[in-house]
Each structure stands twice: as C-alpha cells, then as structure tokens.
C-alpha cells in the first residue's frame, strides 16, 4: 500500500529553532530515509523550498491570477513529503510518528489512489 506523508511545518516555529536543532532534525529525517531505503519501503521524498517562495495560481472566467505565497494562508505550511510503500496502514502511521517533524508540528498520512480495481 502506498502512502504519502506530508510534513506540515510551522514556519515561525522553524525559524525560531537553533541551528543545532535544525541540523538534528535533518539528520534524523535522513536516518529514517536511509532505513526505509534499505527496507525497500522508500519510494520518493523531497523537501520543499520555503513556503514564502511559493506561488499560487487560479483561473476564474478565463482570467489567470498569480499570487505570492502558498494557496492557503495558515500557520503550518507544506515543507516536504515522503512516499512509502508498506504492508499495513499501521506501518505508515509508525513511520510518520517517528519523523522528527511529528514532534514539533505535524505529519499528515494519506493513502494514494491506484489504478487497478475489482469489478466485483
């Protein structure tokens, strides 16, 4: 089963962290990715550039609008993702809970849709 783990980071809180804390988090995340790669559970993962650098767009009545910043103005912003292929939903939750960001802000766990299906 494939899941995407979404890292929702509190920008203000992140900026308030010490350099050591930030490094520690990045190492911890790196360790988890190494472990998942060795396990054959890792599919993909990336950090996203700072939310302040995001651009958003929508089209209404043929008019295209671009704005600076993320789509939703909230305290938490998407900071990264990791796609995993695991045996059970519990395993996905276990991995998400271990992610360092889970301790500081939060992780969202979403199942991925797949193309196959049974006609029943």
């Amino acid at each position: 089963m494939r899941y995407i783990l979404l890292i929702y980071q509190n920008t203000e809180a992140w900026n308030g962290l010490s350099q050591e804390d930030k490094q520690a988090m990045m190492h911890a995340a790196g360790d988890i990715v190494s472990e998942l790669s060795a396990n054959g559970e890792f599919v993909d993962g990336q950090g996203l550039a700072d939310a302040s650098q995001a651009r958003s767009t929508h089209v209404r009545d043929g008019v295209v609008t671009f704005t600076d910043g993320p789509f939703l103005e909230t305290k938490e912003a998407l900071a990264g993702y990791c796609i995993i292929d695991v045996a059970t939903p519990q395993r996905a939750e276990e991995i998400a809970a271990r992610w360092p960001d889970a301790q500081y802000w939060g992780m969202e766990i979403r199942a991925l849709m797949h193309g196959g299906g049974e006609e029943g």
Binding site: D44, D85, A87, H114, G116, G117, E118, E119
Partner: protein
C-alpha cells in the same frame, strides 16, 4: 519478457548446485539475462542458450565470490570451480525446488512474489519494479533483502520432505494467486507490465502443474486463473468503467480459456480425493462460465459451493461473496443478515467492499436511501480509482431514482 527468461530457473539451479550460493547464483543469472537481452538480438540466439547463460553467469558468480575477499571463500571457490559430476544435468524438479525456495516462510508475501518473479520468472528488476509501481532501487533492495532473509533462515536449494513440501506448496500457490490478481485487477489505463503479470502467473502455474500433475489444488488454481482471465475483455467498457459480473457481455468472454478452464476443473473434481479452496473457487467460476446469461446462473449450486468453501477456508471475502449468493437464492434480506458478522472483522482490509456489497443488497431489497448512503461511503473509502468511478456512478444512478421514483430494480 524475453526468450532467455524461461531458462532462469535452470541456470540458477545449475549454479547453486555448483557453488552452493543461491543468492549469488540468482544475481549472476540476472546479469547474464541482461547481457543476453542485449547481445542475442544483435548476434543471434546461441545454439545452446542454456549453456551460454550458465557460462556467462558462472563467470559473474566467480567474480562476486572473489570480491568477497576472505581467503576461505577463495579456497571454496577454487574447489567449487571443478563442477561435481552431474551438476549441469537439469533436474525436472529444479523449477519446483526454486519456486519452493523463493516462497520461504521467512519472507513476506510481497517479497516472496518479487523474488519468484525474478528468480523463477526471469523478469528483470526494472520490469518487476514497473509492475509494482516502485523505483527500481526499491525493488532491488527488497529482492536483495529477501535472499538474505532466506539464507539467515537456513533456506537451501534442496528438495523438501513431504510435510514441509505440502505446506510450502500452499504458500507457492498463494504467491502465484497474488501474482495473477495483481495483473488481473490492473485496468486498461495502467501499464502493460502490470497486466503481463497475468500471463506470467498462468505460465508459472502451468509449469508447476507439469511438475505436479496429480495435485488437485495446482490444477484448481490454474483453472481458476483461466476462468477468471477469460472475462478480461468484458470487465471494462469503452470508457474504462468497471462492469460487474452480472452485467458483463458474455459474448466478450474468451471461449477457449473458458473451455480449457471448465474442462480442467471438471476433470480435477472427478478424481480429487480432497477438495481444496482453489478447486472450490474454480468450481464456482465454472458455474458462472456455464451460464449463457446472468439470469441463467445456477445460484443454488454457487451457494452450495460457498457453503463448503466457508467451512473449509473461511475468510471475510468468502463471507462477502457467499452473502451475495444467499441473496440470489433466499432474497436480499437473508443476504444482508449474512453481512452483519463482518462489521467487527478487522481482517477485512477493505471495508469499502463490505459497504458496497451491503449497498447492492439494500438496493435489491428496495432500501434505496440506505443503498445510496452505502455507495457514497464506499466511494469515499476506496483507494481504487476504477472502483471509485463505479461506486460514484451507482450514487448518481440512485440519486436519479430517488428524484424520479419508479418500481424497485430487479436483481443484478
């Protein structure tokens, strides 16, 4: 899949016998197959393709042994280079032995499946990764770990004794069934590699049957695959929408596959001392296959078979399917009653299926509002795009009915 891949098991077997290292033999064989896939189209298939592969793989294996630099290993390799007499003579049972090894209980079913596809099927890591929608590196790791796990658990390339053999065969059949199912449930929007798994599953099951011609469950599994695969062209419409069995255009079912499947299960049931779950599932598929239209389906016979299957090998899926048969024989309320037991069953990995079957029976019973809510809930829960489309279509259809009430729909 490439002509050389059929020889994979024999090459692995020959090298494992010679050098005693299944893990290295399997890697070396993969590399030789890749080399062959590149060179044979250009230079022509060699006169003795098996010999070519064994020679090339053997060289790679020796290189790998040398790379494991302990002196002891070098000495072992030097000794092993003299092939013991008879090492190159293929054993009829090599493929079966390899299949048994790949399905070692120390591995999870997905790992058993991946290793079987590579070692027995001769597929490349890239092909397998593509079929399972993961990066090649991820699949390579899984296969590598699978082989380590086998070694750590003491698994060896050797014949199994009777009791172990029977238990291991059950695992093998389960893995082959998983392989088939992965391929069969792939929809036309998905890659060819996923649907090729059906062909591979049938091929390997036929191979198993050649090794074990007397085994009823092997025959049953093959019959089940053939009878199910026969419906491939009827299960999706032109827009890629899934069509349930009851609504399929049976003229699109593959007559040759049906004939072979029905013939095989009939013959198997006639001589089988003990019926197993695959034979029973094949028998159910054959009852459907023999009905020219959905209305002509011998549902009482289907229900009898589900009763036996539930007693023999109960599972949530069997309970679900049996409930449908109950509904067709004894009415929808009786069918619905059979579903209640599943509400608390945490083995039912896909609760959307329970919601969907329940909604179908509620609709049959004239309980349109409950059916509508059920289909909506199922549509939200499923992770299958194709199933979601189907369920959302039922929601739209029932909404249309609610807004324009007419006589309750008949079964199907």
């Amino acid at each position: 899949m490439f002509v050389g891949s059929e020889l994979a098991p024999q090459v692995i077997a020959a090298l494992t016998r010679r050098y005693g290292r299944f893990d290295l033999a399997e890697d070396a064989t993969q590399e030789a197959l890749i080399a062959a896939a590149q060179q044979w189209p250009a230079n022509g298939v060699p006169e003795n393709p098996r010999g070519w592969l064994i020679t090339v793989a053997g060289r790679r294996l020796i290189d790998a042994l040398r790379a494991e630099t302990s002196r002891t290993r070098r000495e072992e390799a030097a000794v092993a280079q003299e092939p013991p007499p008879g090492a190159d003579v293929p054993d009829e049972d090599d493929t079966l032995t390899l299949l048994f090894l790949c399905c070692h209980p120390a591995l999870s079913p997905p790992s058993q499946l991946a290793l079987t596809l590579r070692a027995v099927g001769g597929l490349t890591t890239a092909e397998i990764a593509s079929a399972f929608l993961v990066p090649e590196a991820t699949m390579a790791q899984r296969i590598s770990r699978a082989k380590s796990a086998i070694t750590e658990a003491g698994g060896r390339f050797e014949s199994l004794h009777d009791e172990e053999r029977a238990a291991r065969l059950t695992v093998v059949l389960h893995v082959l069934y998983l392989m088939f199912n992965e391929g069969y449930t792939a929809t036309s929007g998905e890659q060819l590699q996923r649907r090729d798994l059906v062909r591979e599953a049938i091929r390997l099951t036929r191979m198993t049957r050649t090794s074990l011609p007397e085994d009823g469950e092997v025959a049953g599994l093959l019959a089940l695959m053939l009878l199910t695969h026969a419906r491939t062209r009827a299960r999706e419409d032109a827009d890629g929408m899934l069509i349930p069995l009851a609504e399929q255009d049976r003229s699109r079912w593959d007559g040759a596959l049906l004939a072979e499947g029905v013939g095989l299960i009939r013959e198997t049931l006639a001589r089988s001392a003990r019926l197993g779950p695959y034979q029973l599932q094949a028998a159910i598929a054959a009852v459907h296959a023999e009905a020219a239209t959905a209305d002509e389906t011998d549902w009482p016979q289907v229900l009898k078979l589900y009763d036996v299957l539930e007693a023999l090998a109960p599972s949530p899926v069997v309970t679900l399917n049996r409930a449908v048969a109950v509904a067709m024989v004894n009415g929808p309320r009786a069918g619905l009653a059979g579903l209640d037991v599943l509400d608390d069953d945490h083995r039912l990995a896909e609760h959307h299926r329970l919601a969907s079957v329940r909604a179908h029976l509620q609709e049959m019973a004239g309980d349109t509002a409950a059916a509508l809510a059920g289909y909506e809930g199922a549509a939200r829960r499923t992770t299958s795009v194709a199933e979601r489309r189907y369920l959302q279509a039922q929601v739209r259809r029932l909404r249309g009915d609610v807004e324009n009430p007419r006589a309750a729909p008949t079964s199907g």
